[in-house]
Each structure stands twice: as structure tokens, then as C-alpha cells.
């Protein structure tokens, strides 16, 4: 083996450390926390969801598939020899699937573990995973970009949420429906998780206050429209529990407001870890958002002032 592989994986390791550092955290602490979070999440989901081993193996393969992206692989093929490229792809897929496999083996799901390894090996030969050029119709085209692009990226999540809510209604499980209603708001909130390049803020002929107000209005209107069918169905089928739906809707509006403001609290940098933690606590304890939102608002105004006059 020549030095190409250690150099490649060394570089990936450095990139990982830098990404965690950019997130505002000590890289080594970040890795330990990520590992603990992975362990905790896996353990919790396995204990709560039936047949989770299949979803788990599928999730592992989905992650591995991301490495098969065409442009990335064309670049690697271009710079490495055929043998090194094949080795590299094989190894990186196995490294990525490894934590999932360990968990599956510990839990005794050997067939799923074997399936995940086999799938990752097969995926290493597949390098043409490109995003489709087909334009998915979006009902949110008039006010680009967060909802327009977010809807197109996450529309399968909406299909699943709507479909499972329908099943929840049929089997009379209100709380599953309510959970999915909340999930719908959180999916919409996720559209605002990445800070855009400063050019896309700069183009606005608005003051920071006007800019934020416009963003919040769009976010609230579109997220409300997205969750409205769920709220109507739940209220119609479980009228006694309509107040729960109303509370979820109120919390959702607070989540969206906080989500939009959170995005600009670190502008032009990405959202910092402390701000993310504050928002996370706010999601778990919604009344806190009444204090968090004004704090985020002032911080966002402060950060946007240098770009928007």
C-alpha cells in the first residue's frame, strides 16, 4: 500500500475536526459527544420502535449511498489510480457502516448486520448517484428560497407524515397524529437550519428589521399551510382534543419564529453550538421560547446590520 490512502483518510479526519471546530466546539469533545449521542439515540430507538433493525440497516446504507455522488467520485477517480480508488471506496464505505454494524451485532441482528456490510460493499462499486434534474413542483415558489428548496428536498417526509397521520386516524390513535403534526412543524423549521451566503442577504433593499419580519411572515404562513391539513383532520376526527392541536399549532409558530431568528444569530457564520443548544431547550420547553425569541431577535438584528443598512 502506498501513501495515498493514509493521506486521504488523514485529510478526511482533519476535515471532520475542522467541521466540529466551525460548529464552535472542541473537536475531540465533539467527537466524544457525537459518539455518545449516536449510542443513546440508537439504544432509545431500538427499545421504542418495533423492527427497528431494518430501518437501522437501511439508514446505514442510505448514509453510505451519499458517498456515491457522481461529482465526488469523478474527482476521486481522476486523482487516484484504479486500484487505489477501488480500495479507498471500499474502506470508506466500511468505516461509515461500521458503527451501525457493531450495534446490530451487539443486539444480535446478524442478518441485518451482514446485509449492511454487503450493501456497503456493493455501494462501493456504484458511483453514479446523482441528484435528479426533474423539477419537483413546489407550492412555495413565490417566496424563495427556504420553503421552495426545503420542500423539494424533504417532500418524502411530508408524504410519510400525511400517510401515517391518515393511518393514525383510521386506527384511532390521536397521539400518534399529534406527534406527526408536531413533526411537520419541525421539518419546516429544519428548512432554516443553514445560513445562506452573505450575497443572498445583501441583495435585499431592506433594513434588518424589515428583512427578518419578511422571513418570519413567510415561514409562519407556509409552515401553517403545510400543517393545516393535519390539524383539520385531527380536529374533525378527535373534536374533544382540538385544544391539543391548537397548542401544537401555537408551539409550531413559536418554533418557526425561533428557527428563522436562530439562523441569523451567527450570521455570516453558521449557527453556533450554544445558540443551537438554547433553541433545543426551547423546543423541549416551549414557554422558554418567549424569552429566547427576543434574545435571538436582538442578536440577529445586530449581526445583520453590517450587511443590511
Amino acid at each position: 500500500m502506498n501513501g495515498a490512502m493514509p493521506a486521504y483518510f488523514g485529510l478526511q479526519y482533519k476535515r471532520l475536526l475542522r467541521s466540529i471546530k466551525d460548529f464552535g466546539m472542541n473537536p475531540y469533545l465533539g467527537m466524544v459527544l457525537a459518539a455518545l449521542l449516536f449510542f443513546w439515540l440508537s439504544k432509545t430507538l431500538f427499545s421504542r420502535i418495533a423492527y427497528f433493525q431494518y430501518y437501522y440497516a437501511a439508514a446505514a446504507l442510505f448514509m453510505v449511498l451519499q458517498l456515491s455522488e457522481t461529482r465526488r467520485n469523478d474527482f476521486l477517480k481522476n486523482i487516484y489510480t484504479k486500484t487505489n480508488y477501488a480500495r479507498l471506496r471500499l474502506l470508506e464505505n466500511l468505516l461509515l457502516v461500521f458503527p451501525f454494524v457493531i450495534f446490530l451485532v451487539v443486539r444480535g441482528f446478524y442478518i441485518c448486520a451482514t446485509g449492511a456490510i454487503t450493501g456497503s460493499l456493493i455501494c462501493s462499486f456504484y458511483n453514479k448517484f446523482s441528484r435528479s434534474a426533474f423539477v419537483i413542483p413546489s407550492p412555495f415558489s413565490k417566496q424563495p428560497f427556504e420553503f421552495t428548496t426545503g420542500f423539494r428536498k424533504y417532500y418524502p417526509a411530508f408524504i410519510v407524515i400525511y400517510a401515517v397521520t391518515a393511518i393514525a386516524v383510521v386506527v384511532g390513535n390521536f397521539y400518534l397524529g399529534a406527534f406527526l403534526d408536531l413533526l411537520c412543524w419541525l421539518v419546516c423549521m429544519n428548512f432554516y437550519s443553514t445560513t445562506e451566503p452573505s450575497y443572498y442577504v445583501w441583495i435585499h433593499a431592506q433594513s434588518p428589521k424589515e428583512f427578518l419580519t419578511g422571513k418570519i411572515k413567510t415561514a409562519l404562513r407556509y409552515s401553517f399551510i403545510s400543517s393545516l391539513p393535519l390539524a383539520i383532520v385531527l380536529c374533525a376526527c378527535f373534536p374533544a382534543k382540538a385544544w391539543v392541536v391548537a397548542v401544537i399549532c401555537f408551539c409550531g409558530l413559536l418554533y418557526m419564529t425561533a428557527g428563522v431568528l436562530l439562523k441569523y444569530t451567527g450570521y455570516p457564520k453558521q449557527i453556533s453550538l450554544p445558540a443551537t443548544i438554547i433553541a433545543g431547550i426551547g423546543i423541549i420547553i416551549p414557554p422558554l421560547l418567549l424569552f429566547v425569541i427576543p434574545f435571538f431577535y436582538n442578536r440577529a438584528i445586530q449581526k445583520l446590520t453590517s450587511t443590511l443598512k
Binding site: 441528484r131 434534474a133 423539477v135 419537483i136 415558489s141 413565490k142 417566496q143 424563495p144 428560497f145 421552495t148 428548496t149 423539494r152 428536498k153 445562506e196 451566503p197 452573505s198 450575497y199 443572498y200 445583501w202 441583495i203 435585499h204 433593499a205 431592506q206 453590517s306 450587511t307 443598512k309
Partner: protein, 227 residues
């Protein structure tokens, strides 16, 4: 009129632009030339209001950034966003109520397709169309001719001539001297963050000669030991 006085810009301790004094008048086209790293893009970003700086930039109309269209060299497009939605975004950003972009589509771009899938030249044309839709007063075009085909090159030249005719301020950079010769009324030569020379049309050869003298050409001769 844009009036730049004593503009300096630091990246950390490194001074990228040093005491720049420039005036840009309405209805005139200005070219900024200089080698890579001379500070052209930084100067453009300072004028656009995308970078902080020392010194002053005044504009006798409204807030400069709100009437400025900036075409950066490196364009960024969101994934899963169509060309039409990009134009809508730029239009909304200036509180304009455009919804029909077909007549504005001067480059015949496939607006219903995702902008991220456009070729380099098409992306540049889309970005330029967006700036025109915004009805800006000032146009800062960083390498507008890079990556576009010959036909579009001619259209861009025509657009610049039309903008001049409409009394707009156009500030541009290009590595193709002939395009600057055709389009610009004034040239400013930026070297190591300083304005080394400023000439009006008719005297561009002076700058071209000066740049040629400092180009890699003369050093290449030394390197290859040619006479």
C-alpha cells in the same frame, strides 16, 4: 456619482487595498484591471457593501447597496431552485412585483430547470439577468465575460452599452483587454492594492503596455533563457 475617498482594507494585518481615491460618474463605464490578487474583487465587495473598510464611499442618490447589482466571479446557486425562482428571489429582494420573467429572459435560458444544473456560462447569464430585472443604478461586474460563449459575449457588450446610454454606472473587470477596450470609458490599473494608473479612453495602450511589461512573458523569457 460614487465618490471613494481614502479607502483601505485589511485582512487581519495584511493590507489588501491602500488609500484608494476614485470617482465613478453616471453614464460611464469603468474598467478595473490588475493581476490576480491585486485587490479587484475586494474593491468591488467594498463598493457593494459586502466588506467593511476604512475610508468613505458616498453616493449622491439613495443608499448605494440598495441600487447596486453585483455580479461576483464565483456564483452560488441554491440546490433545488429553478432559474425562474432565482429571478423571483432577486425581484422580491427589491420589493418588485415581477412574476412574468419570460420577456426578461434575453439569453433564452431554461428558466424552469434547476439553476445548479446550468453550465458555467448559463449561470453567469442568469445572474446577470437577475441584476437587470432589479433595475439597479450601479452595476459591478466581476469578470462578466468569463465562461460565456461568443454570442453571449456580444449580448453582454450590448447590455453594457445600453446601461451606459441609460445613465447607469458600470464598473467591471476583465482579463480580456480587448473587451475592456471596446466597452470602457476609463481604466484604473490596480497593483498591490494601489491605483497605479488611471486613464481615459484613447490612452488604454499605456496601461496595456505597462501590464505586458510586468506580465509573466518577460519573466518567461528569463526563465527559458531566450533573447
Amino acid at each position: 456619482m460614487i465618490n471613494i475617498q481614502s479607502l483601505s482594507k485589511y485582512y487581519g494585518r495584511h493590507k489588501v487595498l491602500s488609500d484608494i481615491d476614485l470617482v465613478f460618474n453616471k453614464g460611464e463605464v469603468y474598467g478595473i484591471v490588475g493581476e490576480n490578487g491585486a485587490g479587484k474583487t475586494t474593491l468591488f465587495k467594498c463598493i457593494a457593501g459586502l466588506e467593511d473598510f476604512e475610508g468613505t464611499i458616498s453616493y449622491d442618490g439613495s443608499t448605494l447597496k440598495n441600487v447596486t447589482g453585483y455580479l461576483p466571479t464565483e456564483l452560488f446557486f441554491f440546490s433545488k431552485m429553478t432559474g425562474q425562482e432565482y429571478l423571483q428571489l432577486l425581484s422580491n429582494a427589491r420589493n418588485l412585483t415581477n412574476t412574468d420573467f419570460k420577456s426578461s429572459n434575453i439569453f433564452d435560458l431554461p428558466l424552469s430547470e434547476y439553476a445548479e444544473n446550468y453550465s458555467t456560462g448559463m449561470k453567469k447569464k442568469l445572474a446577470l439577468t437577475g441584476l437587470l430585472i432589479q433595475k439597479n443604478e450601479v452595476f459591478i461586474l466581476d469578470e462578466p465575460f468569463n465562461g460565456v460563449d461568443i454570442h453571449s459575449n456580444l449580448i453582454i457588450k450590448e447590455i453594457i452599452a445600453k446601461l451606459k446610454q441609460l445613465g447607469k454606472i458600470v464598473i467591471m473587470s476583465s482579463h480580456i483587454f480587448s473587451t475592456l477596450n471596446d466597452s470602457c470609458d476609463h481604466l484604473h490599473y490596480l497593483k498591490n492594492g494601489h491605483i497605479k494608473a488611471s486613464v481615459a479612453k484613447g490612452g488604454f495602450e499605456q496601461i496595456e503596455e505597462e501590464m505586458k511589461g510586468e506580465s509573466v512573458g518577460s519573466r518567461l523569457i528569463d526563465l527559458l533563457n531566450l533573447d
